[in-house]
């Protein structure tokens, strides 16, 4: 097996470099499971509570779309599995996409792997080492998840199947990312394609779970939930995951044999010998550098929006079929269940739309430390102009995503039963979320000025907002923690009336952060490595 020679030292290298990242992913996900389990037990302490919440969720398409299929929701285990939900399984998949992408294609693209491959190291050793580490992380995640649930006195068989479903989803996306890492010609495209498959898996099972469940069989996340933890466990859907994961790895090995080091499957084409007219300013360059990524984000937001929008009619039917729901809705302060659902959808779209802003601004640090900012700043381009051009793309890209999200939600709702006015109403409502999105962009910019090496830390704040927004009520977080998220201060239009004061406050904070970023970057040395 000379092709695998040197795998062991490479495994140690990855562990030495990425042990913190690996433990953060596994630890964070297990913590999320533990906290969700404890809070669910806390909130629904009696069987009567469980029966009531099961009855409410069972026919609520929004809950089914966000969390998963109706499987024994009136048992503690079933309810916990439902609360942890499809969203957490998607995070598990994301772990694989990012870790595998980094360990394989990322290393190759950085040029470090070239040196490694010049030594007596087999052709497949780097791929094998990266996949091995990530596979072990997947298994550890599954074992710890099962153990935590067992420790909470949940039924043994269900806990083990639930832990195994985490491992299964992680392995599926390990296989998929291993393939995209061979096909794509650079790590961003590899992670982008795999991330797209992941997003599609989430959406496909949402559509299936709201319907009769058949469509969910097209999604690996659907398979994981079809293993029915705590609800009459069946192992064989997890075998599908295993087959897909192993098949992906096998395909990756075949593809790796057929491509050159450093190249993708597609041969690079010649490009223009002369720069086009748009490439004449720092802004032109920034647009060119970020165009692809921003458009992909916007596309992802649009697809999500259309999916959510098309499920809205089911909510209307649900309310119509359940007269008692009208009383409940009335007790919520007048907002219709549909509008609450639309507001939650807009919140999710807003959190997603912060993605392009943070990705663009993280590039500032990459450009600086990669020595690509240096020659630009040696021309008559000022630091403000360079930084400002990326900021414009970040704000514009996230704004475009959010607006497309609002319009997409409105169009889909209008098509399934709402009226045409929904398009403008939701399009305008989406703008209400921009101050909160842009505040995160401002934070990233301030970090870049003050602590450039921590620019990517803005992703942590987005993750925090995501956890607060999605799990806040479930986790029963203290109010001061919940208040940290700018999205909590955003009026939940269209469920409530738009108030301008909170938006003005958020915008003022954003301006202060942006000013801090500009001032501190102007005053500091450029990073030279």
């Amino acid at each position: 097996m000379s092709a695998l020679r040197g795998t062991a030292p490479l495994v140690r290298l990855i562990l030495a470099r990425d042990r913190l990242r690996l433990s953060a992913w596994v630890g964070g996900l297990v913590l999320l499971v533990i906290v969700s389990a404890i809070s669910t037990k806390d909130i629904y302490s009696t069987q009567a509570d469980l029966d009531r919440v099961a009855a409410l969720s069972r026919d609520n398409p929004a809950a089914l779309a966000f969390n998963g299929p109706d499987q024994a929701l009136d048992t503690m285990g079933g309810q916990i599995a439902f609360q942890i939900g499809a969203f957490t399984l998607t995070m598990v998949g994301l772990m694989s996409v990012l870790l595998v992408g980094r360990a394989t294609r990322g290393e190759e693209d950085s040029g470090r792997l070239e040196l490694v491959r010049s030594m007596p190291v087999g052709r497949h050793a780097p791929l094998a080492a990266g996949l091995l580490v990530c596979a072990v992380a997947s298994v550890v995640l599954g074992v710890l998840t099962a153990a935590s649930l067992l420790a909470e006195d949940l039924p043994a068989h269900g806990s083990i199947v639930f832990g195994a479903s985490f491992t299964a989803v992680a392995l599926v996306f390990l296989g998929i990312t291993a393939v995209t890492a061979q096909v794509a010609e650079n790590p961003r495209v590899a992670a982008g394609i795999a991330g797209g498959v992941l997003g599609a898996s989430y959406i496909v099972r949402a559509v299936g779970d709201v319907g009769n469940g058949a469509v969910s069989w097209l999604s690996p996340i659907g398979w994981a939930q079809k293993a029915r933890p705590y609800a009459g466990e069946q192992w064989w859907p997890l075998l599908l995951c295993l087959v897909l994961g192993v098949g992906g790895v096998a395909l990756a090995v075949v593809l790796a044999d057929r491509r050159d080091f450093g190249a993708g499957m597609m041969a690079p084409k010649a490009g223009p010998a002369v720069a086009g007219p748009s490439l004449r300013s720092p802004l032109g360059l920034a647009v060119r550098l970020h165009r692809g990524a921003v458009l992909w984000w916007a596309f992802g937001v649009l697809v999500t929006a259309v999916t959510y929008g098309s499920l809205t009619s089911a909510i209307d039917d649900f309310v119509a079929d359940n007269p008692e729901m009208l009383d409940l809705v009335a007790s919520l302060g007048g907002a219709s269940l549909t509008d609450s659902y639309l507001a939650t959808s807009l919140l999710v779209l807003a959190l997603l739309s912060a993605g392009p802003a943070l990705q663009v601004l993280a590039r500032l640090h990459a450009e600086e430390s990669g020595l690509r900012a240096e020659p630009i700043l040696a021309t008559r381009t000022s630091r403000q102009a360079w930084m400002g051009s990326h900021l414009v793309v970040a704000l514009g890209g996230s704004g475009l995503s959010m607006l497309l999200g609002g319009i997409g939600l409105g169009v889909a709702y209008a098509l399934v039963g709402g009226d045409a006015g929904e398009v403008t109403r939701l399009g305008l409502a989406s703008l209400g979320y921009l101050p909160a999105i842009w505040l995160l962009a401002g934070l990233a910019l301030a970090l870049f000025g003050l602590l450039p090496r921590w620019t990517a830390g803005a992703w942590v704040t987005l993750t925090g907002c995501l956890v607060i927004g999605m799990f806040g009520p479930l986790l029963d977080l203290p109010s001061w923690v919940v208040d940290l998220s700018p999205f909590q201060h955003t009026p939940a239009v269209p469920a409530v009336d738009l108030r301008l004061l909170p938006l003005a406050v958020l915008s003022t904070v954003t301006l202060a952060l942006v000013a801090t970023g500009f001032a501190t970057f102007r005053a500091r040395d450029l990073l030279t490595s």
């Binding site: 010609e185 650079n186 690079p268 010649a270 490009g271 223009p272 010998a273 002369v274 720069a275 086009g276 490439l279 004449r280 300013s281 720092p282 032109g284 360059l285 060119r288 550098l289 990669g370 020595l371 690509r372 240096e374 020659p375 630009i376 700043l377 040696a378 021309t379 008559r380 381009t381 000022s382 500091r524 040395d525 450029l526 030279t528």
Partner: protein, 308 residues
């Protein structure tokens, strides 16, 4: 005829590291100035301070009569920079990068750009991702040399070029000189510095240790002499300035301080010269001797300190 670059007592620290420790550098208008020093001696840091990318911690820095930190944008209208570590955007082609820099600098000369692409045999339609180190270097060189800037700052610009391209580069610098432009050339390729530079500054550990014309630097060093004479020459061994005298039969070999060269040749002449070979010190010898001496004395000091 002023100084284009005036640096005096420049200090730059990175945490506990003192990267520049009182560096002096003067570059006159219209000259090609060689900037030499071993790896890590502070050449690139000095250039980054000159470009306003790093802020000086001490000393004075004037570039084209202005302050490079506070007036960087205005000053950059008048200079072109070629970095030593060339990093390009993988998706852009070489031609796009060259045009982008020309436009950002504000001086676009399409004819000169095309001519340079031709001379450096660069394929401008390839994506930067696919360029070798040498080709990336060519992109940066074409982008810099195509400008009409009055000052060129070149940081080891030829480290990845083959000898043919090296010759093209030297031609380009000669042309820049004849156009009256000023060039600061940081380089490790001593033959290139000898061929191009009017004056050189040699730095070490963040300080300038030598600065002047190549001739004046040669005055400070020794010429190697090998001669065959009819009779053994008298009194050479006792002469001040003669070092490492070796005599084998009728042939003598020695090094002589350049100021004492005439006197030493007089002695040889009196003994009847049959053949004479005299080699002026190469820059390489000057460089090696200088650092060799410094390193040796530092080593001794270090050993002494260790013993004491």
């Amino acid at each position: 005829m002023g100084s284009v670059i005036e640096v005096a007592g420049l200090v730059k620290t990175f945490g506990p590291t003192r990267a520049l420790d009182g560096l002096d550098l003067t570059v006159a208008q219209g000259e090609v100035h060689g900037f030499l020093g071993p790896n890590g001696s502070g050449k690139t840091t000095t250039i980054r301070v000159l470009l306003g990318l790093l802020r000086a911690d001490g000393g004075t820095v004037r570039l084209l009569g202005g302050d490079p930190w506070h007036e960087s944008v205005d000053l950059h209208r008048h200079l072109a920079y070629v970095p030593g570590d060339v990093s390009l955007w993988p998706k852009l082609t070489g031609g796009e990068v060259i045009d982008l820099f020309a436009r950002l600098r504000g001086d676009v000369d399409v004819r000169k750009r095309d001519e340079l692409i031709e001379r450096f045999e660069l394929d401008p339609s390839r994506r930067s991702r696919t360029y070798s180190k040498g080709n990336k270097q060519k992109v940066a060189l074409v982008a810099g040399l195509a400008s009409a800037a009055e000052l060129l700052i070149l940081d080891e610009p030829t480290s990845g070029l083959d000898p043919l391209m090296e010759a093209v580069f030297q031609d380009c610098i000669q042309e820049a000189r004849s156009e009256g432009r000023t060039v600061l050339l940081s380089s490790h390729i001593l033959a290139e510095v000898e061929a191009l530079c009017d004056r050189v500054s040699i730095i070490r550990a963040g300080r300038t240790v030598e600065s002047g014309t190549l001739q004046s630097l040669r005055q400070l060093t020794r010429t190697a002499v090998t001669a065959e004479t009819e009779r053994p020459p008298d009194g050479l061994a006792e002469m001040p300035g003669v070092h490492g005298l070796e005599a084998t039969g009728a042939t003598v070999h020695f090094h002589v301080d350049t100021v004492d060269l005439a006197a030493a040749i007089g002695r040889l002449s009196a003994a009847g010269i049959r053949s004479l070979i005299s080699n002026p010190p190469t820059l390489e010898e000057m460089f090696l001797r200088h650092y060799g001496d410094e390193l040796a004395s530092e080593q001794r000091a270090h050993d002494g300190a260790a013993r004491g």
